[in-house]
Amino acid sequence: MITDLEVLETIRMFQEQHLDVRTITMGINLMDCADENPERACTKIYDKITRYAENLVSVGEQISKDYQVPIINKRISVTPISIIAAASKVDNYVCFAKAMDAAAKACGVNFIGGFSALVNKGCTHSDEKLMASIPESLAQTDFVCSSLNLASSRTGINMDAVRSMGRIILETAELTKDRDAIGCAKLVVFANAPEDNPFMAGSFLGPGEPECEINVGISGPGVIKSALETVRGQDLGVVAETIKKSAFKITRVGELVAREASRRLNVPFGIIDLSLAPTPAIGDSIARILEEFGLEDCGAWGTTAALAMLNDAVKKGGTMASSFVGGLSGAFIPVSEDEGMIDVAKRGAINLEKLEAMTCVCSVGLDMVAIPGDTPAEIISGIIADEMAIGTFNNKTTAVRVIPVPGKGVGDMVHFGGLLGSAPIMHVNPSSCKAFIDRGGRIPAPIHSMKN
């Protein structure tokens, strides 16, 4: 029998601590949509997505009502479009992005990921066409998200692609400058990109994944924060235990929703992504959890240690609660999407270099960071190169989602709206890395990649 205290604990999680399931993401394989004729390929893509995901939103809403568990987002991820479009005789891939966008709108989801390419070792002709089409595609669509895997621990870092992406990010910003460069909020570059990640903007369905699957991203920073408030002053072992217990409970809710969605949609359950995903709402912040450890500000010395422990304890607690764990699984530290992070960034209590250090021990990377619009392309490439190196050489996923906002400088605020939040423009070290980036080529895989 469940005790009264357990009942009330659960109720409080939903009522006061913002516990929700962040996303149900349906992955759809598009391999069979390839066609020499691009228009025909786009029709097949639209038809297949709308056929498979027809009931995704209604089923998600019904589960939410039946269990009284908020499910914030219903989303779709597809096979990287560079693979599908390779067969088509066309140079500009904007038509594929538009087909994805139209399908997303028809299904009622709020994002569709997979305008992507996996170029960690090198680019195919199709990858190059896709990359060149990113700025226009993100400017002309509403819901399409784009991602690239630029590096992996097995292959090293594709520095030619890193160089290109600096320029492509600036072009994307320029084409969406009337909306604070929002195109860049839908574009992320990875090292070691997971192929079953349900979270945007980096969600796509990797080539090793099944025909269709349901991946669920959980959340719950507010629950962890509230739990830690009950153990103030106690030693860090107690803190770790408390996080693990909360992570277990949060993940169980995700597991229940994932199983139910899988059953009702008759689509296999893929993975639960054990991530702590913040929102700009008060009480739903990762930065505030780190401060609860005993830090004056997120960004103070000790922040990296606290984040490392938080990230690890979430995984330890969550793994026990789910039969299949995957995706990014860890704490996200986006700036604009986290109320506490926005606060410390505004006050200058955190800088890009500290954020970079934190990405060594969290699940993603420099995420939703607004930088001056006049940042040179090679410096953006340099930021990417450093993050890729952290991921590649430490066997983990890292990512960069920076937004160079045209016409804005350090301290100015940008507002993306909704879950994307708002952020102050952060200072970027102006020292040049141009000659380094211009070298191009590949950074070889680290020695510990040779495990066979």
Binding site: L8, T10, Q15, K65, Q68, K249, R252, L256
Partner: protein
């Protein structure tokens, strides 16, 4: 009808104590053929807290509509009323 977990729900009523809360809620449940299997009532941190285990197997309305109905009743009396399937509590608190 069998009473599996999909039909058993946990109802919580949290707020300030007042005359007639249980009567009002019991009437709504009875009117809809919802059986009360268990009921506990305590004062936790000075707040009136009632937890009911209810069986919706023969209910005239589904959990979504019941939840809406009770939310309205709760709001008029400054009470927070939630209904959630017992399955959720089991999975969260039991390995």
């Amino acid at each position: 009808m069998s009473t599996n977990d999909k039909n058993i729900a946990v109802m919580t009523v949290v707020g300030s104590d007042a005359v007639g809360i249980i009567a009002k809620i019991s009437t709504i449940l009875a009117d809809n053929d919802i059986n009360i299997k268990d009921i506990t009532q305590t004062i936790l941190d000075d707040i009136f807290t009632m937890i009911m285990i209810i069986d919706l197997s023969s209910s005239k309305i589904n959990i979504e509509d019941l939840s809406k109905l009770l939310t309205e009743v709760g709001e008029s009396r400054n009470l927070s009323i939630r209904v959630q399937l017992k399955e959720l509590f089991n999975i969260m608190h039991r390995i």
